[in-house]
């Protein structure tokens, strides 16, 4: 197991290195630079600014400085936020994005799995149709539409909830739901088909023949087996959802990380682009690694095959 994890860790580091290097060079290829302004900065001042930010150095030198800083965890000052380091920006935004993300995960996993299980157990009946319906809605309607609608109905018309911002529990309800809907839909669909697959297996018949109670059959045999493939898709989902989403956070004015994925590129904020990418890349890689490990723990077949190989 330790060897397995060490190998995964090595690949993870290589992956992150490739991602940040590719980002570093690609962003330099975007026309313009972080100091560009519609109203031109006086050339002499611009020269001084370039020097100040180290942009006058040759690209490879900038790259090595960047890698060195990154290795020590320093991601530099943001260009756009002139008094804040990228570390501070991430430290400020990530807990909020993560809090929203975790809420959405909890709602999404519970509702999604429940819906999937109920649908499979009521195959081709009312609950099944309802769950398919929810899945289609959740997958096909973009988050900002849901977000805007929620805001309009519950914020403006009914005045039950505050329209936006991230302050009290009431403020979190709409964004949590808007963010979890996609997850609910995906999980419900996935869980449903996975369950249907399991229901048809011989060992279910055996269990029935053994005279196990229906609850035990569902709980110990069907769900436990059906949930495995679902865990695979959870890794990337968690990474995406806890690091913040542009649309939901923008619509609900939530001070998370989400908006920086778009804004940093628009503003060509080099340090913020690379910092955010490195951070997101690491979370994604770590999540995938955790899923791999969790998979090994949950599924005895994988454990065994690992041991024998």
């Amino acid at each position: 197991m330790i060897k397995y994890i060490a190998k995964k860790l090595f690949y993870a580091i290589v992956t992150i290195w490739i991602v940040v290097s590719a980002t570093f060079f690609m962003m330099q290829a975007i026309p313009g630079d972080p100091l560009m302004n519609e109203k031109r900065v006086v050339p002499e001042i611009k020269e001084n600014l370039r020097k100040y930010y180290g942009l006058d150095k040759p690209l490879h030198e900038q790259y090595f400085i960047y890698l060195k800083n990154l290795a020590t965890g320093k991601m530099g000052m943001s260009f756009q936020y002139k008094n804040r380091t990228v570390n501070e920006i991430i430290a400020n935004g990530f807990p909020i994005s993560a809090s929203l993300g975790m809420r959405a995960m909890i709602v999404g996993i519970i509702a999604g799995l429940l819906l999937g299980v109920v649908a499979a157990l009521n195959h081709n009946r009312g609950w099944d149709r309802f769950s398919i319906f929810v899945a289609i809605i959740g997958v096909s309607i973009p988050g900002f539409v849901i977000a805007a609608l929620l805001q309009w109905v519950f914020g403006v018309k009914l005045r039950w909830l505050p329209v936006a911002q991230w302050k009290s529990f009431a403020h979190t309800i709409m964004p949590t739901f808007a963010l979890s809907l996609g997850l609910i839909a995906n999980l419900a669909r996935f869980m449903r088909s996975s369950m249907l697959d399991v229901i048809g297996q011989d060992y279910i018949k055996t269990a029935k023949a053994k005279g196990l109670s229906p609850f035990e059959i569902v709980w110990r045999h069907q769900i436990r087996n059906a949930i495995l493939p679902v865990i695979t898709i959870l890794g990337p989902w968690i990474a995406i959802i806890i690091t913040g989403t542009f649309v939901i956070e923008t619509v609900f004015a939530i001070p998370g990380l989400g908006k920086f994925y778009v804004q940093s590129i628009n503003m060509q904020d080099y340090t913020l682009i690379t910092g955010i990418t490195a951070f997101f890349g690491s979370i994604l890689v770590i999540m995938n690694m955790l899923v791999d490990i969790a998979y090994g723990i949950i599924d005895p077949r994988i454990r065994i095959s690992k041991r024998s190989s």
């Binding site: 006086v42 020097k51 949590t176 979890s180």
Partner: protein, 579 residues
């Protein structure tokens, strides 16, 4: 200065509003019923999710006036987005500049289109108009220290320090020795800022700058405390508790990316004139969210309003203000065809601005038949604007004249057919829509075929700067309320002269105006310069942009204008909210 941000945020706002508009239109009817079911379901689920609120609740304060008829003096407005910096010498965007004007003050203050004394009680100007002596009043920083002439000198030299470059340093270039110091050719000691005593500051300028009393109201010119800068270093003005200011309001809280609040500064020298007790400024960058918050009575005004929102609005009133920008075609005057003035005139005269505004942009803009903005730039006698005195230079949609000029121009060039011109525009939905409208008009009115070149705005700016275009869709916003802010753009040495216009006569007019101490003569020269520009048309004016916004009827005296401080709430107050 403002231009990038102004355009950036208006463009973003438009993109955002488009996105949301799309969302609402598609979804409202169809999905409402579906969503209702979903929501019932979700309410139960989300109620189960654990967790603590991320921050304490404090917005509702404004709503609760306990049993009094007195209006609580609290104003709630969106600040759009987290300011890049509130270090006033370093600031270079609109939003930063207006927030700073609430918490700081310069030697003068630009109040509702007029210069009034600020931290300087009075000032003397020498005969030649080049030496200003400012006499400071007794004013205090929020930590109780007096504001001194030394604080100004320190702040100004800080703005010019080449070791710690500030993009707006050029705002001080009119001062003798300033540019030299900033570009590393001179020393700090040679900059002509002299502290006579604690309360007297003397500045010597290179030219008699007619608008210098405005410049000293601007954030780059704010006084700065050396001890505070040294204490906080890079965190100067970066957190609520780090601010030491001397303006009408104080920063109370700053939750990054979320919200700022301000309270009245009781020690401000003119505190009796300030009525608001508190300003609550959440950062709401999505224009539809801002509108929804306004409709839900969570905000008292909006930054902007689009046509759909205008129609849907149920509260308060629609107002509009000149956002300061003028929009035009940039003609590359070195292009083999566009070098001909008659062709440029034909292209300018032959489009229908009135119809464009009414049918395409659908915003409260006005056709530009001249260059310098209306409303915001006064003439020599300040009761009239430069625009009112200058008037229009050509007619809108003058197809007849345009056709004749086109024919004449082609004859001069020896052409029987125009080669296909390229028209560069932003690649946003709106950028392309607007450009297409003019493309269509040229084709219909003049039979001129033009090819669109939609590019990302960064590419457009880059190519404009390198004169790498035929025609480009461009705009400009003023730095200060004087026609020079627009007119010196087209001097041959200007870094913003995208068309490449090079006319020694024009250059001469501008230089003469810059050195003229007689105001009447100076304005004559400036009008002559504008007339020359409108004769040669290196740019083809299109429209002056105005922005709609919503404001509740109980909000009084908020002043908006597209030059300097865009949202001035310093003298605002609330009246009649608790009727």
């Amino acid at each position: 200065m403002e231009m990038k941000y102004l355009m950036f945020y208006l463009d973003r706002w438009k993109t955002n509003s488009k996105k949301n508009k799309g969302g609402n239109v598609v979804s409202k009817k169809r999905l409402l019923s579906i969503v209702a079911v979903m929501l019932a379901f979700a309410m139960i689920l989300t109620a189960c999710s654990p967790g603590q609120p991320a921050a304490s609740d404090q917005t509702e304060g404004a709503e609760q006036t306990v049993g009094t008829v007195q209006d609580e003096q609290v104003l709630r407005l969106s600040l759009f987005q987290e300011p890049g910096t509130l270090d006033w010498q370093r600031s270079d965007s609109n939003i930063e500049i207006y927030i700073l004007s609430w918490i700081m003050e310069g030697l003068t203050r630009y109040k509702h289109g007029e210069i009034i004394p600020g931290l300087a009680e009075k000032w003397d100007i020498s005969e030649d108009g080049k030496t200003y002596t400012f006499h400071l009043r007794d004013a205090k920083w929020t930590d109780g220290q007096p504001v001194t002439a030394e604080d100004f000198k320190y702040g100004w030299l800080r703005a010019l320090n080449p070791e710690d470059p500030m993009s707006y340093a050029y705002f001080l270039y009119d001062i003798v020795g300033a540019k030299e110091y900033n570009t590393g050719e001179g020393a700090a000691e040679d900059v002509a800022i002299k502290v006579i005593d604690d309360k007297t500051l003397e500045v010597t300028l290179k030219n008699p700058v007619a608008y210098f009393d405005y410049l000293v109201s601007f954030s780059t010119y704010y006084p700065t405390r050396k001890d505070i800068v040294e204490k906080y270093g890079n965190k100067f003005n970066a957190e609520a508790q780090n601010f030491v200011t001397c303006g009408p309001f104080k920063v109370e809280t700053w939750e990054h990316e979320a919200e700022m609040t301000f309270v009245k500064n009781p020690d401000y020298w003119n505190a009796s004139e300030i009525k608001l007790e508190k300003i609550i400024g959440p950062f709401i960058s999505d224009n539809q969210t801002e509108f929804n918050m306004y409709e839900a009575e969570e905000l008292d005004m909006t930054i902007a309003l689009n046509a759909d929102q205008k129609a849907a609005m149920t509260k308060g009133e629609v107002k509009n203000f000149n956002d300061g920008s003028v929009w035009f075609f940039d003609f590359n005057v070195n292009h083999p065809v566009l070098k001909n003035v008659n062709i440029r005139r034909a292209l300018t005269y032959g489009v229908d601005r009135e119809s464009f505004i009414k049918n395409v942009s659908k915003r409260p803009w006005i056709p530009a038949l001249s260059y310098v903005q209306p409303d915001i730039i006064p003439d020599v006698n300040t009761d009239k604007t430069f625009r009112e005195v200058g008037g229009d230079y050509f007619k809108d949609n003058d197809v007849e004249t345009a056709k004749k000029l086109l024919e004449q121009g082609m004859k001069e060039l020896g052409l029987t057919q125009l080669p296909k011109l390229k028209f560069m525009c932003n690649d946003t939905a709106e950028g392309q829509l607007y450009a297409q409208a003019f493309q269509e008009m040229w084709k219909k009115n003049l039979g001129i075929e033009v090819e669109l070149e939609p590019v990302p705005s960064a590419v457009r700016i880059d190519r404009q700067q390198n004169h790498d275009f035929d025609i480009s869709y461009a705009g400009w916003g003023p730095d200060y309320p004087d026609p020079m802010t627009d007119l010196d753009l087209y001097t041959s040495w200007s870094g913003n002269n995208d068309p490449g216009y090079n006319n020694p006569e024009y250059d001469d007019l501008i230089v003469r105006a810059q050195n003229e101490t007689d105001r009447v003569k100076r304005f004559e020269l400036l009008h002559q310069a504008e007339a020359m520009l409108m004769r040669d048309l290196p740019i083809g004016p299109l429209y002056f942009r105005y922005t709609d916004y919503a404001e509740r009827e109980y909000v009084k005296n908020v002043y908006r204008k597209g030059v300097g401080v865009e949202i001035d709430v310093v003298y605002a107050y609330i009246e009649g909210k608790n009727k």
